[in-house]
């Protein structure tokens, strides 16, 4: 087919800092993206799943006979069939195991009970509706605080009585693990000695990433070659291939995982879901390709949820506002299986970043995880493994402390920031922050929004009985997992790879182990290579997502792509440049020591006119090499970062509140981010817009809620509320630049800062607006009713 778009590609050498338009866009704007459901293979069957209406029930009988009578239905499988293949349970990323199809009982509503394979999607759906399952309902555990009560029903009978889990001892059959960090005794002592102490309970509610493209998978087992090709909406194709090999026994080189264009991921597309396994098993059993594409209901009710942290914090400070110590206890609701997608050593993710941007001398954090009758998960939803919860906790708590001290929240923050001179800064909970200038970033934000005038306006309005609030969040993130000394998933170290091949004509193909879902890697990786090698950006193609061709890597989530694969890209390019330099010397007929890289060309030192371009060198690499040199110009680089990166930012939100209805209107929102070196400012700004919108959604709308029977009350987009253009505020963005001292190009990663940093700013603004009515905290999502309740209790009423 002829290319339908004019050549839109940005041209020429386009390195770091250039806001060039995205190379991946032309196909998307004409409707020629290639998402999973766009792939159709000859003879392909469709799969549909049968789901449990109950959240906790014994399965008495599954009758598939009616389903098998439907024309077009080829097969129905249940857990028993999977057991024959050893696939009725699979390991989770968190060291637990989970049912693929319900084995004897169901543990959460909508759990997968059977899989139906059919010639058409209609027949598959009819088949699923015709499977008759007989259940005996069991008592349901919805509240995580009740999960470990002595009389609580045992959820996981498969590990009943086994009091040691993957992360240490369990103290109840519904308890998963306890994890703590820091010094408890010293922290308690410091707290006891503090002049001022605040305590606050807060909940980061269960939410779901809900990308607009649901998850899906096509299993394609070629019985003639023994090769399994799996098309999957996955953010981590290589890890998936390894896991698939481990659970199926098929050698890794006989499995090819292809992750096509992904319609948003946000962490949802990291784990392995039962539907994927059933599609693959179906293909192996039936010898035909099998496609499964989730419905939205399946997406919201069965795939990886996020958050669900129930937190208690205590902070000590001096009377004049210097923080001294922090103690945190968190109860984590992990649902029916511990399928959290965290690095192996960190069952609570990177939650221990909860001291934030502040110089706490003493800190202690403890997390208990429990099982409940809810879908499994605990994915890093647009965040670096529980950083969002940590950031919200500290940023919200700093406002509680400011309120207690009757101090301006900006002033309190300025008083407690880690100072630039303290970097590298070892935190009380064990991290070494790489760099930052928190005061500078906050001051830029305060200036931009006109903080002093806003406070004046607020005082005037309050005198008139009008409600206006200002909320600040000066968060620090921890991203780029990670250094192999600390980070692995199922034992696989969390480095990432880049492969760069420069062709004779000066074009290049670049591949990475990451897999973008809208972040713009096809543009930014090309920019890094263009910067480092002086090649035209329009001659660089970026490919990700095919395990047959891309170098190994752990994938794209937790803002890790730029810190890991971005580093690999830069260092790989530099390695190529080293070889290129030798070829350049050969071409220039001088010694290698006389050649230098200036303005993206090789020049002879002191002879500015005498130079060769990378294009010329590339041609020579295949045609005219120095004697004895290996031909070609390419490399594969695996980058194991020495440390994590610590992006930060200062966000300020202004809200007005309707006294009649409790409606909160976000009037302004200024976001100043510092993500170190910026590769493409346009893309960075776009990431910030999107992340702020998800933060706004968390603060005011999004929640996966359950009733007492374990019914998921947010099972579709009419009840799981995503903001539209009309609700979404207008964002004002900006940045400061504090490069990472250890990253090859000084970049830190930005995709998640706004989701991590913004919720506290919104909530702080609302609480600030209501503070004079005695409000200290309101849990998210802040609905109109929660505000209304405060207003009416305070006697505020208005039409």
């Amino acid at each position: 087919m002829a290319v339908e778009t004019p050549n839109l590609e940005p041209k020429g050498i386009q390195g770091l800092g250039k806001a060039i338009k995205r190379k991946e866009d032309p196909r998307f704007i004409v409707g020629k993206g290639n998402y999973l459901d766009d792939i159709n293979l000859p003879g392909m069957l469709h799969m549909a799943l049968v789901h449990s209406p109950y959240a906790h029930a014994k399965i008495l009988n599954i009758d598939t006979s009616e389903a098998l009578k439907i024309p077009g239905v080829k097969a129905v499988i249940t857990s028993k069939d999977l057991a024959a293949a050893g696939l009725s349970w699979i390991p989770t990323l968190a060291g637990d195991k989970q049912m693929v199809l319900a084995d004897g009982k169901v543990l959460y509503q909508y759990q997968e009970v059977a899989a139906v394979y059919a010639e058409t999607r209609q027949a598959a759906a009819d088949g699923a509706a015709a499977v008759q399952v007989e259940y005996e309902p069991l008592p349901v555990v919805v509240d995580p605080y009740k999960a470990t009560a002595p009389d609580a029903p045992v959820l996981r009978e498969d590990i009943k009585g086994n009091m040691t889990g993957a992360h240490g001892p369990r103290r109840h059959d519904n308890h998963i693990w306890t994890w703590d960090v820091g010094s408890k005794d010293e922290t308690e002592k410091a707290l006891a000695a503090s002049e001022v102490r605040i305590k606050q309970h807060m909940v980061y509610p269960r939410s779901h990433p809900a990308p607009l493209e649901p998850c899906g998978c096509i299993g394609d087992m070629n019985k003639a070659t023994g090769r399994l090709t799996v098309y999957m909406t996955t953010q981590a194709p290589h890890a998936i291939r390894t896991v698939l090999s481990l659970v199926t026994g098929i050698p890794e080189n006989n499995i090819r995982v292809i992750s096509p264009d992904i319609g948003g991921g946000f962490g949802n597309k990291v784990p392995v879901y039962p539907g994927y396994v059933c599609a693959i098993v179906g293909s192996i059993v039936l010898g035909a390709p099998v496609k499964w594409v989730e419905t939205r209901t399946e997406n919201l009710t069965t795939t990886g949820f996020a958050r669900d942290f129930h937190m208690d914090i205590e902070i000590g400070a001096t009377k004049d506002g210097k923080v001294t110590a922090m103690k945190v206890y968190t109860l984590a609701d992990h649902g029916a299986f511990d399928a959290a997608a965290d690095p192996s050593k960190y069952p609570a993710g990177l939650f221990s970043i909860c001291t934030g941007s502040y110089d706490f001398q003493k800190a202690y954090a403890e997390v208990d995880a429990v099982y409940t009758n809810k879908a499994p998960g605990g994915v890093a939803y647009r965040c670096s493994f529980r950083v969002t919860e940590a950031s919200y906790l500290i940023e919200r708590s700093m406002d509680v402390l400011a309120h207690e001290l009757k101090m301006d929240p900006a002033e309190l923050r300025l008083k407690n920031f880690i100072q630039p001179s303290q970097f590298p800064y070892p935190s009380a909970l064990g991290w070494t922050y790489d760099s930052g200038d928190y005061e500078k970033t906050l001051k830029v934000a305060l200036g931009r929004i006109g903080y002093a005038e806003l406070r004046k306006e607020q005082a005037e309005k309050r005198a008139k009985g009008e409600l206006m609030g200002i909320g600040i969040s000066t968060f620090t993130e921890i991203v780029g997992a990670g250094p192999s000394k600390d980070f692995d998933i199922l034992g696989i170290k969390m480095f990432d790879g880049a492969e760069i091949r420069v062709h004779p004509s000066g074009s290049a193909i670049v591949r990475a182990g990451t897999r973008h879902q809208g972040q713009g890697h096809e543009t930014t990786w090309a920019q890094i290579v263009s910067e480092e090698l002086g090649l035209d950006v329009d001659k660089i193609i970026v490919e990700e997502g095919d395990t047959d061709t891309a170098p190994y890597g752990l994938g794209t989530y937790a803002s890790r792509s730029t810190p890991t694969a971005g580093g690999a890209m830069a260092l790989g390019a530099r390695r190529i440049r080293e070889k290129a330099k030798k070829i350049a010397a050969h071409l220039l007929e001088v010694g290698e020591g006389d050649v230098e890289w200036v303005d993206k060309k090789f020049v002879v030192k002191g002879v500015p006119g005498k130079s060769v371009t990378m294009n010329e060198v590339a041609f020579a690499a295949y045609t005219n090499l120095p004697p004895g040199m290996e031909p070609g110009l390419e490399t594969t680089y695996y980058y194991d970062p020495p440390n994590l990166t610590f992006p930060h930012g200062a966000y300020i939100c202004v809200v007005d509140i309707d006294k009649g209805t409790g409606e909160v209107k976000v009037r302004r929102f200024v976001a100043i981010d510092d993500c170190g070196t910026i590769i493409n400012p346009m893309i960075v700004e776009g990431q910030v817009h999107g992340g702020l919108t998800e933060g706004f959604a968390m603060a005011f709308m999004q929640e996966i809620a359950f009733d007492e029977q374990g019914n998921n009350l947010s099972s579709n987009f009419t009840d799981y509320l995503l903001p539209t253009a009309l609700e979404t505020p207008k964002w004002e963005t900006g940045h400061t630049v504090t490069p990472s001292p250890h990253h090859p190009i000084g970049a830190k990663g930005v995709g998640e800062s706004p989701t991590v940093g913004s919720p506290a700013a919104f909530v702080n603004a609302v609480v600030d607006a209501l503070a004079h009515l005695g409000v200290r905290h309101i849990d998210m999502p802040i609905t109109r009713e929660k505000v209304w309740k405060v207003l009416r209790q305070a006697g505020v009423d208005s039409f």
Binding site: H51, P53, Y54, A55, Q109, A129, Y135, P137, T297, T301, D707, E708, Q709, G710, N711, N712, L713, S715, N716, T718, D719
Partner: protein, 149 residues
């Protein structure tokens, strides 16, 4: 979701007649609205398929119904478990039966239903008022038929 209902039905029939009526699965079944089919398992158990129309929700529900008369307590218990449209309903209803001086009988009933699945998660917004109407219809039908006996 959990739904709770209660009501009172005055039947123009003696308590004796009422008791004999409600212990007869055939007679009880005849009070179910839009009954499509019924299979009697024994003198206390039956399986009934009922058409349900709740606004946009339309389809068949299949229920296992167990009658549990407790004359000594003047109480009739009914347990219903079943479902349809991929959803499940568990309902326990009880009625206190008291004969009146005027040869009529008072049924003081209450029911607690637990609904799971799409009917609750998607249809929950519209379920409550309709389910109430359905239960009221059953008791109204009973009252009418008992009076006719």
């Amino acid at each position: 979701m959990k739904l709770e209902y209660s009501g009172q039905e005055k039947v123009q029939a003696s308590a004796e007649k009422v008791w004999s009526f409600i212990q007869d699965p055939q007679k009880v079944a005849s009070c179910l609205p839009d009954l499509k089919s019924v299979e009697f398992k024994d003198d206390k158990n039956m399986v009934a398929t009922v058409g349900v129309a709740v606004g946009p929700v339309r389809g068949s529900f299949k229920f296992n119904i167990e009658l549990d008369p407790r004359p000594e307590e003047n109480k009739m218990m009914v347990r219903i478990r079943g479902g349809g449209l991929g959803s499940a309903v568990d309902l326990t209803a009880s009625a206190d039966i008291s004969g009146q001086e005027d040869q009529s009988t008072l049924l003081d009933w209450n029911g607690v239903a637990s609904v799971s699945g799409p009917a609750a998660t998607v249809g929950g917004r519209v379920l409550d008022a309709q389910a109430k109407r359905l239960i009221e219809t059953v008791f109204a039908n009973m009252g009418k038929k008992m009076s006719e006996v």
